[in-house]
């Protein structure tokens, strides 16, 4: 407490101390794993309080229920590392699959009635996500509108468009191919989980070992410097917005398979959870900081919490409060472990 206020008082030290350098380097590595202890603790706790928690079936269903969140959190994390923001991801989760479904469904089932083959439908879904991302990118990167507020507006617009084009209808009766990701399994684990895992692995690898990944960190850290280093700032940012949009669409598809229908408010309010997961996982909202490992642990943490709350049959009225409380605590944990002011 006192040292914190002292830290707040004094301007950042000019001292070049190798010790401090080494220490923070270690802390950084530590920070990205900051949550692992918390996660482990929770799992152990869960195992104690409830004997079904550690059953294979249950662990698998935790993964299955987290897959969609994982994909969208991945999208949000990439954009955040680039120093930008995209709130409209939650609406993309809804509208992209809706579009994909409506080009496939007959008019009788609330579709457009053009009844394209479902493969085309899935393609259109991905493209829709990418296009939405591109629009956001254009508004933020080229027109330099404030990312937070412009994507907030987009969130409202897209949700509105979905309600408008479906006339508020929930879409049922999609072809099986819209559900396979969530329904069919490999080694007992849903494909959606494998997909999310693969996406995280690839993203993590590119961020660490490819120039584009490093460029993203550079841009998030100091765009002007990145420019002078010859990084095509605008292009990279556009790219990450587009990828983000596509990932959100994919997340939407996973969600569709998981619930077996597309309601007009699919994904509504999801962005809160997404940002919570990302930041708890150590992704910085100021850009340039954070790892995929961290983001993933963030997602899993929230998934485990949700699962435990249901298993424990907590009084339903209090579930929300407890859930929020746990998020708050985890934030403090990652603040304390990371040792320095959060951003």
């Amino acid at each position: 407490m006192t040292d914190i206020s002292a830290l707040a008082e004094s301007p950042r030290s000019t001292q070049p101390t190798t010790f401090r350098g080494a220490r923070t380097a270690l802390l950084r590595r530590f920070r990205e794993l900051a949550l692992v202890p918390a996660l482990v603790a929770l799992v152990v706790l869960g195992g104690l309080v409830n004997d079904t928690f550690l059953t294979k079936a249950n662990l698998i269903s935790i993964l299955g229920s987290s897959a969609a969140l994982a994909l969208v959190t991945l999208a949000a994390s990439l954009i955040l590392i680039g120093g930008k923001f995209d709130l409209s991801l939650e609406s993309t989760v809804g509208i992209a699959p809706a579009l994909g479904a409506m080009v496939v469904l007959p008019a009788s089932a609330a579709g457009f009635g053009i009844e394209l083959p479902s493969a085309v439908g899935l393609l259109i879904m991905l493209v829709a996500g990418a296009v939405i991302g591109a629009v956001n990118g254009f508004l933020v990167v080229k027109l330099q509108l404030n990312a937070f507020i412009v994507t907030l507006a987009m969130l409202i617009v897209l949700r509105g468009l979905q309600v408008g084009m479906t006339e508020g209808k929930t879409l049922f009766e999609m072809p099986e191919s819209f559900f396979t990701l969530a329904t069919s399994t490999f080694l007992e684990v849903p494909l959606s989980v494998w997909l999310a895992a693969a996406a995280f692995a690839i993203a993590g690898f590119v961020l660490r070992h490819h120039r584009v990944g490093r460029a993203l960190y550079a841009i998030g850290g100091n765009p002007a410097a990145a420019r002078t280093a010859g990084i095509r700032v605008d292009r990279v940012l556009m790219g990450v917005y587009i990828v983000g949009g596509a990932l959100a669409a994919l997340g939407g598809l996973v969600l569709t398979g998981y619930v077996g229908a597309i309601s007009p408010n699919q994904g509504d309010g999801m962005i809160f959870t997404v940002f919570a997961a990302a930041v708890i996982g150590g992704i910085s909202l100021d850009g340039g900081k954070g790892t995929m490992t961290g983001a993933l642990t963030g997602v899993l943490l929230l998934g485990v919490v949700q699962n435990l709350l249901t298993l424990a049959q907590v009084k339903p009225f209090w579930i929300q409060a407890i859930y929020g409380g746990i998020i708050l605590v985890s934030l403090m944990v990652s603040r304390l472990t990371s040792g320095k002011a959060q951003d």
Binding site: S61, Q313, P316
Partner: protein, 327 residues
């Protein structure tokens, strides 16, 4: 009251009687979406001239604003489906001050004067479902997939179901999944519950429109989706009566649903507002559309529309809105 006397003056009726405003709570559930579809048709039928429906987007304050706006436009009658039984009071006061009659649909206001309440009681749904479920399951665990605990209908259905179970079927244990009307929360919750309780006997979902798909999806995923009659079958009772639920009943995926009459909601909402605008009044007692009008302590009248329980037996009844709805 009976529809008989209204027939005469429909012709003149919409001439002098002014416009009617119709306010929806939200549009994102198949049920209200259907209701919204019925309004213009029924209005034509009854010769009521309505403004386009207004959607309050499940925001109570927005609903008050919408009512104000309609009143400012000089509507002579309002058909409102309140988002909340209490958080509608201010709107009703406004209307009363302007001398504009209001018919409340689906939710009975806790406070304020209305010409008529048109609904099938949410508590009744819960009890109905409980009775059916109880008789089928007798003993063991059942789960209720709850709506948003901060929404009146979610709350009423949950309480009614819980209480009825406690009283009538003490040997049945009720598990609960709060979902805030979110399909993915329902899916995750049910999935988890099934892990912990493979011996689950029954599922009550408070809104088929939202929960039907996720429930079937999860049962399928867990290989627990056996047709009705199969000893391994898990009893599923739903609510709303949308077409997809009826199909599920035909397929034998689910046992029953409470058909919440979207068409009658629209029809009688408009019917009573028309009557009120013409200064007609009604007494408690049976109506001509096999429902009864009862009087609330605060003097408001309520036409308790029948909300039939749909099972394999009556699933093809053409009068069910889920069957009559153009698909």
């Amino acid at each position: 009251g009976s529809t008989g006397d209204s027939k005469g003056n429909t012709a003149t009726g919409d001439g002098k009687a002014g416009k009617t405003g119709v306010v929806l709570p939200f549009l994102t559930s198949p049920f209200w979406q259907a209701y919204n579809g019925y309004v213009p048709a029924k209005a034509k039928e009854l010769g009521v001239s309505t403004l386009p429906t207004v959607n309050s987007n499940s925001d109570a304050a927005q609903q008050i604003t919408d009512i104000n706006n309609l009143l400012n436009q000089g509507v002579k009658g309002l058909v409102v489906a309140p988002i909340d039984s209490a958080a509608i009071a201010a709107g009703l006061d406004q209307a009363e001050r302007k001398g504009v009659p209001v018919v409340a649909v689906d939710v009975a206001p806790d406070r304020g004067k209305v010409a008529m309440i048109v609904r099938a009681d949410n508590r009744a749904y819960g009890t109905l479902a409980c009775k059916y479920m109880g008789d089928k399951v007798k003993t063991g665990k059942v789960v209720q997939i709850m709506g948003d605990l901060s929404s009146i209908n979610g709350r009423d259905r949950s309480e009614a179901f819980r209480d009825c179970m406690k009283q009538n079927y003490p040997s049945i244990q009720v598990l609960e999944i709060p979902t805030e009307w979110k399909a993915e929360r329902a899916a995750a919750g049910l999935n988890t519950i099934l892990n912990a309780n493979p011996d689950l006997k029954g599922v009550y979902m408070q809104a088929g429109g939202v929960f039907l798909a996720p429930t079937l999806q999860q049962l399928k995923a867990k290989g627990l989706l056996h047709p009705v009659g199969d000893p391994k079958h898990i009893t599923v009772v739903s609510n709303d009566g949308i077409p997809q639920e009826l199909d599920a009943i035909r397929r034998g995926d689910i046992d029953a649903t409470v058909s919440q009459p979207a068409d009658d909601y629209a029809k009688y909402g408009l019917y009573y507002i028309k009557a009120a605008m013409e200064g007609k009044t009604f007494e408690p007692g049976p109506t001509d559309h096999n429902s009864t009008i009862i009087q609330h302590p605060d003097g408001n009248l309520e036409d308790q529309l029948a909300a039939p329980l749909v099972t394999k037996e009556n699933v093809d009844d053409p009068t069910l809105w889920g069957n009559s709805l153009g698909r």
